[in-house]
Every structure is written in structure tokens, then in C-alpha cells.
Symmetry: C2
């Protein structure tokens, strides 16, 4: 499979546009844990994921994190191209959560394409609309859902993403995803364990009662 | 002044597009307090504010509110046109905060224009990008800024919007803007009063020390 199979709306671009975007897009590899974008106003470019997994997150002054969204195979990430997102604030961090292969599409080219191709422009609009919608959902969760429900939902999502009931994840990492302190996560996980919903071992959370977690999350 | 003066990027539309959009846009008046959009998936259309002030907010199951953004003269609101925002969740409420005159632009026409005009498509992209950026800012505030800072920032913003140091607003209303309980607002305002930053009277909050509120908010 090559670039054309991964790039969304490829068929809606003309041959000239296809050639321009393909010729300047640079395939790079990032080890798990690598920071691709560090919240600076640098305009790295759009990221198109070939394999692996990226995570976009916010970072507070005190070093607390909260996950905004994740990008999987064939996803395009605009957050690393602040110049394409007018008035975007530059506080989003992006890291590789797994070993990843990512095409970097120069923002200036993408900007040019947005000015000449309605398909690209409308596609970008729908991408941002999706992110906006997800961010609204996340904000509702944070504001109004109690932490036990949020944690149950997070464990289930993580289980679906990794396709396993045995999550290799530390309490610290969970806290970073959810924008809270490690102690809060540990306390709640211990409660879940006492209720038979999970089993805790060093560096892992095993889901013991998926059905009850699901009921709790809803 | 007529529609053409209020509609952004009017000059980038051709005569045919201008005529289509002007002929179907309906000017309506809403009394302060009127709900224009009630979180349902109904696609009311885009809103273009001629005068007055609109507020978009989220509402929790328990009836708590939090303000997402406000729209003033010449602003366009897309949230009332879920059909133009792919995958948008339908939980945004929109109310007139003041007596307002608003043009309603049918969503189907706007959708058509997005498919034929790059100017409209890119403009919509930048609108959503702005909202996304604001929502990120709001989320950071909520997650990481202590409530005293948020409240100080809110009072100063309100003061700028209303162009007065004497805010005619109840504690209940402030709580609705900020997604918290009235008691929390009252407690903090009393603390502000004890510190000489505000003076509280029935139905009003007077800003007594703007400089200190500013320092606190930063």
C-alpha cells in the first residue's frame, strides 16, 4: 500500500494535486514515546498516520496532562500545523504512543491546496468539526461525569484500542490521560478491585468484570 | 446597513451566490431569554447576528450549564446548523442574552455554497478552528485554573462586554456561565468582597478594584 491508499479523499484531487502532495510528503519513523510536537508555535505540518498510534494532549503548568484525542492508521492530524488552523493556540503536545510511521505533509502545501480544492477545504472543515465535537464530549465528561464513570469508560476504551482485557498501563499513565493525579486513579482502581471489576498487578490492570464496568460507564 | 454589510466575506461571493443567500435569509427578532435552539438535532440554520447578543451553552442532566461561547453583532453561529457540522453532537443550547435581531440562513443553502465556494468553505473551517481553540482554552481553565482566577477573569470579561463596572447579574447566572453551583459563586464573591475587590448588592456585582482582579486572573 502506498500514500494514495492512506490519504483520505485522494480520488477527489486532480493528478497535479496528487503529484504535488505525494512528492513533498516525507515518511518518517518515530519510536514509542517520541514527542513529535512540543506545544510550540512551530508549524511542523499535517501528520498522516501509516502505522502505529499518536496521542494529542494538553499539559498544565504543573505538568498535569489530559488526552485530547488519538490518531490511528489513516488518520490525519492537523494540530501539528498551527498555520492551517487560524487562531489556534499552541499548547497541544503530540507524542507517538507506539512505534509509528507517519507522513509529514508540509503545511504551506496543504494551505495552498485548501485555497484551490473545495474537497480539501471541506474535508478539513469536517476534521475540525469532529475534533470540536469530541472535545465537547470530553468537556462534558470532565465537568459532569463523576470520576468512577470516567475511569470505567477509559478502561473499556483502552481495552478496545489494545484488543485485550489485560491493560499494560501504569496508574501514572492513566492519570495523564484523564487530567488527574496518580493518587486519585490508584484510589479508584482499588475500589474497582474491591468490587471485583478489575484485578491489579504491577504495571497492569486486568478487566475482571467487563459487564459491570460497562454498566458503570453508561 | 443591510445584509451585505453584516455578512462576512460577502465580497468573495459572486453575484449569483450573493442573491441566493440574501433572498432566503430571514431576519427575526428574539426577546432576551428566548431559546433559539434547544439541543435537539433539528437543523435550524446558520445564525448571523444583526444586533444583540447570543449565548451557546451546554446543559447537564442535572440542569447545570456552562457557557461555550457568545455571539455579537456580525458574528455567525454554526452550532444551530448541525447538518453543516459533520458528527456534531446535538447538545448545544442557544439563547438570546439580550433582545436580538438575527438572520437565519437555511443550512441546505449554506451547505450548497460550501460545496461550490472555496471562500465559504475556508471561512467555515476558520470559524470552527476558532471555536475549537476557544473550547480548548475553556477546558484548560476548567481543569487547571483555580476557581478564584476563573471568576476574576469572568467578572472582567463581563465588565468589558457590558462596558460597565457595575454588573447586573445574579450569582445564579454566574454559576450557569461557569458550570458550577450558586453556593460556590456566592462564597467566592464574598471572599472577593472581604478583600475589597468587589462590592455586592442585590442583583449586582460592582467591581471595586479592577487592577487586583486583573492580577488575580493572570
Amino acid at each position: 500500500m502506498d500514500f494514495a491508499q492512506y490519504f483520505p479523499i485522494w480520488d477527489k484531487l486532480n493528478a497535479n494535486q496528487q503529484e504535488r502532495i505525494r512528492s513533498v510528503s516525507d515518511l518518517r519513523k518515530f519510536k514509542s514515546g517520541t514527542l513529535l510536537h512540543d506545544g510550540s508555535p512551530d508549524c511542523l505540518g499535517m501528520l498522516l498516520v501509516r502505522s502505529g498510534q499518536l496521542r494529542a494532549y494538553l499539559l498544565s503548568d504543573e505538568g498535569r496532562e489530559v488526552t485530547i484525542c488519538r490518531f490511528f492508521e489513516m488518520d490525519i492530524c492537523l494540530f501539528s500545523a498551527s498555520c492551517v488552523m487560524p487562531n489556534m493556540q499552541f499548547n497541544i503536545f503530540i507524542e507517538a504512543e507506539k512505534d509509528s510511521e507517519v507522513w509529514i505533509i508540509p503545511a504551506c502545501l496543504y494551505q495552498n491546496l485548501m485555497d484551490e480544492s473545495i474537497a480539501i477545504s471541506n474535508y478539513s472543515h469536517s476534521l475540525i468539526s469532529n475534533h470540536f465535537s469530541e472535545l465537547m464530549w470530553l468537556m462534558e465528561q470532565i465537568m459532569w461525569k463523576s470520576f468512577d464513570k470516567r475511569l470505567a469508560a477509559f478502561l473499556l476504551e483502552e481495552s478496545a484500542v489494545e484488543n485485550t482485557l489485560s491493560l499494560k498501563i501504569t496508574h501514572e499513565k492513566i492519570a495523564n490521560h484523564m487530567g488527574t493525579a496518580r493518587e486519585v486513579v490508584t484510589r479508584m482502581l482499588r475500589y474497582f478491585q474491591s468490587e471485583g471489576m478489575v484485578t491489579l498487578t504491577r504495571g497492569a490492570v486486568d478487566i475482571a468484570d467487563r459487564k459491570r464496568l460497562l454498566e458503570l460507564s453508561e
